[in-house]
């Protein structure tokens, strides 16, 4: 790993608006992020656009491990962003819920 880059935090919206098992797309500044809440309650944030053909990752079916892009069924690991179907990876962002119940994502700055 390279030295930790500085990040910028973005509030995305109320966590309650993210239904269990599903993903939603948000804009964090210029960056489009797909945030998922798995059925066991874990949060994952990845880049919102499928590297294969620009599919909307937030519309994909997900489980505890992966999300499947709805356009051509390319599969990505939520935790690492790595593709299991031979595509370039998604970018993974750190995401959490703050004290006021907002989703907060960390976007590398600069």
């Amino acid at each position: 790993m390279s030295a930790p880059a500085t990040t910028e935090a973005f509030r995305l919206g109320q966590a309650t608006e993210l239904p269990p098992g599903e993903g939603r797309a948000y804009a964090a500044g210029d960056v489009q992020v797909a945030v998922f809440r798995t059925r066991t309650g874990r949060l994952h944030a990845v880049s919102a656009v499928c590297p294969h053909a620009g599919g909307p990752i937030a519309d994909g079916i997900a489980d505890e491990q992966v999300v499947i892009c709805p356009l051509h069924q390319h599969t990505y690991e939520l935790a690492t962003g790595c593709s299991r179907t031979g595509q370039p990876p998604l970018i993974v962002y750190s995401v959490a819920i703050d004290a006021e119940g907002f989703l907060v994502v960390q976007i590398p700055s600069g």
């Binding site: 608006e17 599903e22 489009q32 620009g54 909307p56 519309d59 299991r84 179907t85």
Partner: protein, 822 residues
């Protein structure tokens, strides 16, 4: 430049000689060899096989040259074109040229080829003049030029010889406006390659091209003193003509070797290394006799040249040629013919499968011995040639139903030899997966079909290539394919086949997808790839009486529209039976205007598609349309296509429109393991394409209706099987319900009826669905009744979104700014 270690002399600059030298150069040994080539013809090297194409005008003369004079120079080869070798002194290791030169060799390759066989025909030659003016053979580029020139201002030609070359010459000459008669000594054409029946059909095909054919005809004399005036046959008949082409076969050029003291029988005798009885002298091509075979085709020559190059360069001194299995293809425009191996069965237990359709000029046969293909003929339709050639050449296992060797039946034509497929060949046309990619995946250690499909997505588009993918995986794994335990499971995440899975769901009263995972999946783990199928299955089992977890739906089913490539959606309102009204059309037009719909398109299912709708606009669009969903996005009952039936059509036999609307009204929106596309057509003219639907109904004379099931006209084409003929629309609706419910309960996930119906078998289906031999009909009807009762138009969700952000955009529809990279 240092003197080469090894002086290689090649006598013959034809296809065999030049190919052998190419193979030698490829092995990187050209520098060590001082190569000298002697060629009788004063040209570089050309592809003799294509002379037929030059004659017919299909190819330009310049297009058939293989190696230019520059090539010889570039590779340090001394080409002595136009010099004939008159003698080989094998003891002094010298060859004598017709120009008086002598050339020493360390290694000698004889590749003198063959020459036309000219039967003893009176008048063919003129004393001291060679051939009679107007008499030609067909072997060299000079022959071709002379024939072409002569044909231009002559009118009638006789071609002597009805073999491959004779036929090609005859067809070629026609291009010059010459009337051609083909005179053949044997009882039927191409008697070396064809049996009498095939020969007779070939004759019809050839005659249809305007070539006269005379068989059983020995030419005894060419008539005419100064100019040719005709030919005389043994029975005394004469055929008037002003030119004659002799294409009666070939004879190996072995005289040079014979007079120089080499062992020659029909040709120069060689061993498995292509070596003559002199260890430093080799022979290759048509002048060589290997294991008692002399070949007159090009494929064996390629194989011989490889072995010879391996031996001569020392690349593989043990390389051995074991003989070739030869196949013949006729290059005559308008006649497709391929033949290989035995012409007729020879043993009592040889299997002989023949299909003959003389009127269309089609003849196909295969000869099988001990489960191996030993002979095949394809005439008029050579679509199966690549598989047959491969099966013949490599002894591949053959399909149990031999007819499949001759025709592609039912299944997609996946049985073409996968080994033969080029590496770059695209196997999955939906996802652009090549054979090489599949092979690489297998070689990386993935040994199951589903594993390879997951890794490459091959077979995950329309699915029609799946069996081909399976064959390639099997072939690439070289038998080390691992039994795929998940192959029988309904979904990949739960190790149960469909009947057991359904039983377990009922037994444990599992009412949600997450409950199914918790109870039945290994370690209770959820699986994204299984969710959509489980949602569908739960709806089939419980109708609406289950916990509908929206995350377990595919996006199309979450928002009741079909996602498009740019993340927008298509909206197809219901239009039962393809019938609409001015009012509906007005509303659709208004919606298209209001939401600036980029494209309005008629669908194949007789409906109207509004494309490019943004996700967030979907509820408003539905409200403005105020029409129910057409379900053009789900694995569900889609539509019933109809024709105008009796109402307007003068041919209509039944009211197909009304019946189609009735069927759609009853079964609208039903989920299933796959799409269900239906049609009702008012007469057997089939305007609504009912024969190729999952279920298609055809009105026939006498107020009756035929029901076809298992048809398809998508990525896979199949005519449906006739399930039943009934005499009322009510009976159609009842049987449709039973069949669809049986399909919903029994079919595998994404198994369309075109695969399901043949898997169950139409007789068995008829027994269950129509005759009720198993007593299942009442239950099917009852469960279908429940399912129908549970119908709810999903577009009513416009009033109350089910989940927060259900219709929120998931993509900015503009081009994204560059995402920063860590």
């Amino acid at each position: 430049m240092p003197a080469p270690r090894n002086r290689l002399v090649v006598i013959g600059n034809g296809m065999a000689g030049a190919r052998t030298v190419e193979e030698i150069l490829e092995r990187g040994d050209g520098a060590n060899l001082g190569i000298t080539m002697f060629g009788e013809e004063p040209y570089g090297n050309y592809n003799r096989i294509l002379l037929s194409n030059v004659l017919s005008g299909a190819e330009d003369e310049s297009g058939i040259f293989l190696n230019s004079l520059q090539w010889y120079e570039d590779n340090g080869i001394t080409l002595r074109a136009g010099v004939q070798i008159t003698r080989i002194d094998r003891y002094a290791k010298l060859v004598y040229g017709s120009d008086g030169t002598t050339t020493g060799y360390d290694t000698l390759i004889i590749a003198t080829g063959s020459r036309p066989l000219v039967p003893d025909i009176k008048g063919a030659h003129r004393p001291n003049r060679g051939f009679h003016q107007g008499v030609f053979t067909f072997r060299t580029i000079d022959d071709t030029r002379a024939m072409t020139r002569y044909a231009r201002d002559h009118e009638r030609a006789v071609v002597i010889g009805g073999g491959l070359l004779g036929l090609e010459a005859a067809r070629g000459l026609q291009q010059y406006g010459v009337a051609v008669t083909l005179v053949h000594a044997a009882p039927h054409l191409m008697n070396q390659q064809l049996d009498a029946q095939a020969g007779a059909i070939l004759r019809r095909n050839v005659e249809a091209l305007g070539i006269d054919v005379v068989t059983d005809a020995i030419t005894t004399e060419i008539l005419g003193k100064e100019a040719v005036s005709g030919v005389k046959l043994r029975d005394g008949a004469t055929i008037a003509c002003d030119m004659v082409v002799i294409a009666a076969g070939i004879r190996p050029n072995a005289e040079l070797a014979a007079t120089s003291g080499f062992a020659v029988e029909r040709a120069i005798v060689v061993d498995d290394q292509m070596r003559t009885d002199d260890p430093d002298v080799f022979a290759v091509g048509e002048c060589a006799q290997h294991r008692n075979q002399v070949y007159g085709l090009v494929a064996p020559l390629w194989e011989q040249a490889k072995v010879l190059a391996d031996v001569v360069t020392g690349a593989n001194p043990k390389a051995a040629y074991h003989g070739s299995r030869t196949a013949t293809k006729l290059k005559v425009a308008g006649v497709d013919l391929a033949a290989m191996g035995l012409v007729t069965p020879e043993r009592d237990d040889d299997e002989f499968v023949v299909y003959s359709e003389p009127r269309r000029g089609v003849y196909k046969s295969v000869i099988i011995r001990d489960d191996r293909l030993v002979g095949a003929t394809l005439l008029g339709d050579v679509s199966k040639v690549s598989f047959l050639m491969q099966a013949f050449d490599r002894g591949l296992p053959l399909p149990e139903e031999r007819i499949k060797l001759l025709f592609d039946i039912g299944a997609p034509p996946a049985e073409v030899g996968v080994a033969e497929l080029a590496d770059t060949a695209q196997v999955c046309n939906c996802n652009g997966v090549s054979k090489a990619t599949l092979v690489k995946t297998v070689q990386s250690g993935v040994r199951t079909l589903s594993g390879v499909m997951d890794a490459t997505r091959a077979g995950k588009g329309c699915g029609s290539c799946k069996s081909l993918v399976a064959q390639i995986v099997e072939w690439a794994a070289d038998g080390e394919i691992e039994e795929d335990p998940s192959a029988s499971w309904y979904v990949p995440g739960i190790p149960l086949p469909k009947p057991e899975l359904m039983a377990a769901i009922r037994e444990h009263d599992l009412r949600s997808v997450s409950a199914v995972f918790a109870a039945l999946a290994p370690e209770g783990a959820d699986d994204a790839k299984s969710k959509m199928a489980l949602t569908s299955l739960l709806r089939v089992i419980w109708n609406h009486d289950f916990v509908d977890e929206r995350d377990a739906r595919f996006v199309n089913d979450r928002v009741h529209a079909n996602i498009q490539r740019d993340g927008t959606f298509s909206v197809v309102p219901q239009m039962k039976g393809g019938v609409t009204t001015p009012d509906q059309l007005r509303r659709i037009a208004d919606v298209a205007d209001k939401y600036a719909v980029p494209m309005v398109k008629l669908t194949g299912g007789q409906r109207i598609d509004l494309l490019g709708i943004r996700k967030e606009d979907l509820p408003k669009v539905w409200a403005d349309l105020d029409m129910p969903s057409g379900y053009a996005y789900g694995k569900s009952f889609r539509t019933v296509k109809t024709c105008v039936g009796t109402e307007y059509c003068r041919f209509g036999l039944g009211d197909s429109t009304a019946l189609g609307i009735a069927i759609e009204s009853r079964y609208q929106g039903l989920e299933g393991p796959g799409k269900m596309k239906l049609a009702v057509t008012g007469c057997p003219r089939n305007c609504a394409e009912a024969y190729v639907k999952d279920l298609g109904v055809v009105a026939v004379e006498g107020g009756r209706w035929e029901i076809y099931v298992g048809g398809a006209a998508g990525a896979h084409i199949r005519k449906g099987d006739l399930l039943a003929t009934v005499d009322s629309p009510e009976a159609v609706i009842t049987l449709t319900g039973r069949f669809l419910q049986y399909y919903r309960e029994q079919a595998n996930w994404l198994e369309r009826t075109y695969a399901f119906v043949p898997r169950i078998g139409i007789e068995r289906l008829r027994a269950i669905v129509v005759d009720d031999t198993d007593g299942l009909a009442a239950g099917l009807e009852a469960r279908m009744e429940e399912a129908v009762g549970a119908y709810r138009d999903p577009w009513r969700e416009r009033e109350n979104a089910i989940t927060p952000g259900q219709f929120r955009t998931a993509l900015p529809l503009t081009v994204l700014p560059q995402v920063p990279v860590r």
